[in-house]
C-alpha cells in the first residue's frame, strides 16, 4: 500500500509535542479516506525511542547534521523523505518547524499548500482545507489540487488521543547528504527561570495592545495589584519592551490555565489563544464586538477598558 499521508514529527528538543499526535489522529482519518498508509517523518540525531504514535510507517533520517536544529538542513532531510514516501498529503503545524519549512517545501515541489488550517478533509481525491485568515476574523475553504498537498495546521485544532495510540510501524531509514544545506545548528536554549510565574496563578489579569502605551499599563497593574495576581500580556506588549518575556501568554510564551483569565484589549489571535484557551473562565473586554477573543470567552464586554478597569479596581 502506498503512503497517503505524511506527518512531520515536530520534536526539536524534549518530548514529541502534542501537535504531532493531533496531526497523526487527523492523518489517520485522511489516510483511510484516501486508501493509503499513514507515515511519520522523524528527523534528528540519535532519535532513540521516540514514539511514532498511530503511524503505519516511520521514515527516519538520523544524521549528526540534525543534532541541532537548522531549518535548511531539516528541510533537505524532509525533502528526501517526501521523495521516498511520495505521499498525497503532508501535514505539519504552524509551529516553528511548520512556519520554517512547509511553505518552502511546497514551493520547491511546485505543490499546493494551505497555511493556518483548522480543518482538513477529502472530497474524492481532492484535499480540502479550512484556514483561518486575518487573525481569525475569516475562514477560507480551499481546494488543493496536486500532489502532495501540503497543509500546515494551527496547533490545538484536533484532538491528540487518536494519534497517540501506538502500533508497531515499519521503519524506513533514509540516508541523506546534508553537507550542502547551507546551515548548521548551534544548539537550543531553554527559557530562563524568573521571579514571576504566571502559570501558577488562579486568576490572571492579561493585557493586550488595546492598552495603547506603556504609561497606560499602570492602570492594569493597579488592578492586578488590587487582586494580588500577576499581570500577563500578549506578545506585542513584550515586543515593545513594556513588560519582560516571562509575562507573555501564547504560542511563544507561557501556556496558562488559571481559573479565570481576564483579557483586556486582546484581539484573540490564534497564537494568543494557543496559550490560554483552556482557562476555566475567560472574561474578555474588547471594544470590537467582532474580535475573535469573544469566540473563546465565556463572558464578554465591549465597554472601553479605560472605563472598565478603574471601576473594577475601585471595587476591590
Amino acid at each position: 500500500m502506498s503512503v497517503a499521508v505524511l506527518v512531520v514529527s515536530e520534536r526539536v528538543v524534549g518530548e514529541v509535542p502534542d501537535v504531532t499526535f493531533e496531526l497523526l489522529g487527523k492523518g489517520r482519518e485522511i489516510a483511510s479516506a484516501l486508501g493509503g498508509e499513514l507515515a511519520i517523518a522523524v528527523l534528528g540525531h540519535q532519535v532513540g525511542e521516540l514514539p511514532f504514535g498511530a503511524a503505519d510507517v516511520a521514515y527516519v533520517v538520523d544524521d549528526p547534521a540534525l543534532a541541532n536544529y537548522a531549518a535548511s538542513a531539516v528541510e533537505a532531510a524532509l525533502a528526501a523523505v517526501v521523495e521516498a514516501a511520495s505521499p498525497k498529503v503532508v501535514l505539519m503545524s504552524t509551529g516553528t518547524v511548520g512556519l520554517d519549512l512547509a511553505a518552502s517545501l511546497a514551493a520547491r515541489l511546485g505543490a499546493p499548500m494551505a497555511s493556518y488550517a483548522v480543518d482538513v478533509a477529502t472530497e474524492g481525491d481532492t484535499v480540502v482545507a479550512t484556514s483561518q485568515l486575518y487573525g481569525g476574523k475569516l475562514l477560507a475553504e480551499v481546494a488543493l489540487e496536486g500532489s502532495p498537498a501540503v497543509v500546515s495546521v494551527i496547533p490545538g485544532s484536533f484532538a491528540a488521543d487518536a494519534g497517540r495510540v501506538g502500533g508497531a510501524p515499519r521503519i524506513e531509514t533514509i540516508a541523506v547528504s546534508l553537507d550542502g544545506a547551507g546551515a548548521r545548528g548551534e544548539g537550543v536554549r531553554e527559557p530562563e527561570a524568573s521571579g514571576v510565574d504566571i502559570t501558577a496563578a488562579d486568576l490572571l489579569v492579561s493585557v493586550g495592545r488595546g492598552i495603547g502605551s506603556k504609561e497606560n499599563l499602570e492602570l492594569v497593574q493597579e488592578l492586578a495589584d488590587a487582586l494580588k495576581v500577576p499581570l500577563a500580556a500578549s506578545r506585542p506588549i513584550i515586543d515593545q519592551g513594556w513588560l519582560p518575556k516571562p509575562h507573555q501568554v501564547g504560542k511563544s510564551g507561557k501556556k496558562v490555565k488559571p481559573q479565570v483569565y481576564l483579557a483586556l484589549g486582546i484581539s484573540g489571535a490564534p497564537e494568543h489563544l494557543e496559550g490560554m484557551r483552556s482557562a476555566g473562565t475567560i472574561i474578555a473586554c474588547n471594544t470590537d464586538p467582532k474580535a475573535p477573543i469573544f469566540e473563546v470567552a465565556h463572558y464578554g464586554t465591549t465597554v472601553d477598558l479605560f472605563d472598565l478597569v478603574p471601576e473594577l479596581t475601585e471595587r476591590l
Binding site: T96, E141, L144, P191, K245, G253, V260
Partner: protein
C-alpha cells in the same frame, strides 16, 4: 552588509472585513491598508544591523494600496533605496507564492547579503514569505527569527521554537529570514520626516512579468467563522459591567466577599 527588506500592505485588522460578491476574497474597496506589522520589525532589524556593521538597506514592495506611504516612511527611518515592483493587479489579492516569485525574480539581479521580511502576514494562505523566496532562489532560510548576528560571511540567527525555547543556527549568506521581532521595538518616523522623504526620495519602479508558480490552493469560499455561541455579553455601563465581573470572581472565591 547589504540588506534587502521585503515589505507589504495588508488590510487593517481593526476594520470590519466584508467578503466580496464572489465570496472568495475580502471586499477591497472599503478596506484601509496598512504596513504588515512583522515587516516593520524586519525593517527595524535591518536598520539596526546597518547601524552596527555598516552597509545599505533597500526596501522592496509590490505595488499595492498606500504602499508609497510605507516606502516613504521606510526612507524616513533610514532606508537607502526604495523599490516598487509592478506588473500585477495592484488592487487584487496577490498570494504569497506569486508575491515571493515576483520578489525572487527581482532579487536574482541584486546581490544582497541577507533578505529580511516579516515572519508572516495575516493573509498568507499559501504559506509564509521567507521560505518561499528562499526556495525560489535556492538560498538558506529561517523563520520566527528574533536575533540576527553577522559572523564573517555567515549569519548566526536565533529562532523561537515555542514556550520560550530558542534555537541558534548559522546560515551561509545570502540567506532569507522571516523576522518575528527585532532587537528593539520599531522606530517611529514623524510625519514631518516622512514628508521630507517624499520630497527627496525617488521610488524606483521595476516591472516584473507574471511568474510561473505551479499548483496553488484555490479559494472556494471565504466566510466569517460560524459563531459557536461565544461569550455571554455583559451589558450595561462600565460600572454595571464591573459589578458583574466582580460577582463572577467572587462566585469562584477569587475575591473576598
Amino acid at each position: 552588509m547589504d540588506i534587502v527588506v521585503v515589505v507589504r500592505q495588508l488590510a487593517d485588522l481593526v476594520e470590519e472585513l466584508e467578503v466580496n460578491d464572489e465570496g472568495t476574497d475580502i471586499d477591497r474597496d472599503f478596506v484601509k491598508f496598512v504596513a504588515n506589522e512583522w515587516d516593520e520589525a524586519a525593517l527595524e532589524e535591518a536598520l539596526c544591523l546597518k547601524e552596527a556593521v555598516g552597509g545599505t538597506v533597500t526596501v522592496v514592495a509590490l505595488d499595492e494600496p498606500d504602499v508609497d506611504q510605507t516606502l516613504y516612511a521606510a526612507a524616513a527611518k533610514g532606508a537607502d533605496r526604495v523599490v516598487k515592483l509592478t506588473g500585477h493587479d495592484p488592487d487584487g489579492w496577490v498570494r504569497t507564492r506569486e508575491r515571493a516569485a515576483r520578489v525572487a525574480t527581482w532579487l536574482r539581479d541584486q546581490h544582497p547579503d541577507v533578505v529580511l521580511t516579516g515572519v508572516q502576514a495575516a493573509d498568507d494562505l499559501d504559506g509564509q514569505m521567507a521560505g518561499v523566496v528562499a526556495a525560489y532562489l535556492g538560498w538558506p532560510h529561517a523563520a520566527v527569527v528574533v536575533v540576527v548576528e553577522p559572523a564573517g560571511n555567515e549569519l548566526t540567527v536565533t529562532q523561537e521554537l515555542g514556550g520560550g525555547t530558542v534555537a541558534t543556527s548559522t546560515l551561509a549568506m545570502p540567506a532569507v529570514l522571516g523576522i518575528q521581532a527585532a532587537r528593539q521595538a520599531p522606530r517611529y518616523a514623524p510625519i514631518s520626516r516622512i514628508r521630507q522623504a517624499q520630497q527627496s526620495t525617488t521610488i524606483e519602479e521595476v516591472e516584473i512579468d507574471e511568474p510561473a508558480i505551479g499548483a496553488v490552493a484555490s479559494v472556494r469560499r471565504l466566510f466569517p467563522p460560524p459563531s459557536r455561541g461565544g461569550a455571554e455579553m455583559l451589558e450595561g455601563s462600565a460600572a454595571e459591567v464591573a459589578d458583574k465581573i466582580v460577582e463572577i470572581l467572587r462566585a469562584r472565591g477569587l475575591v473576598r466577599a
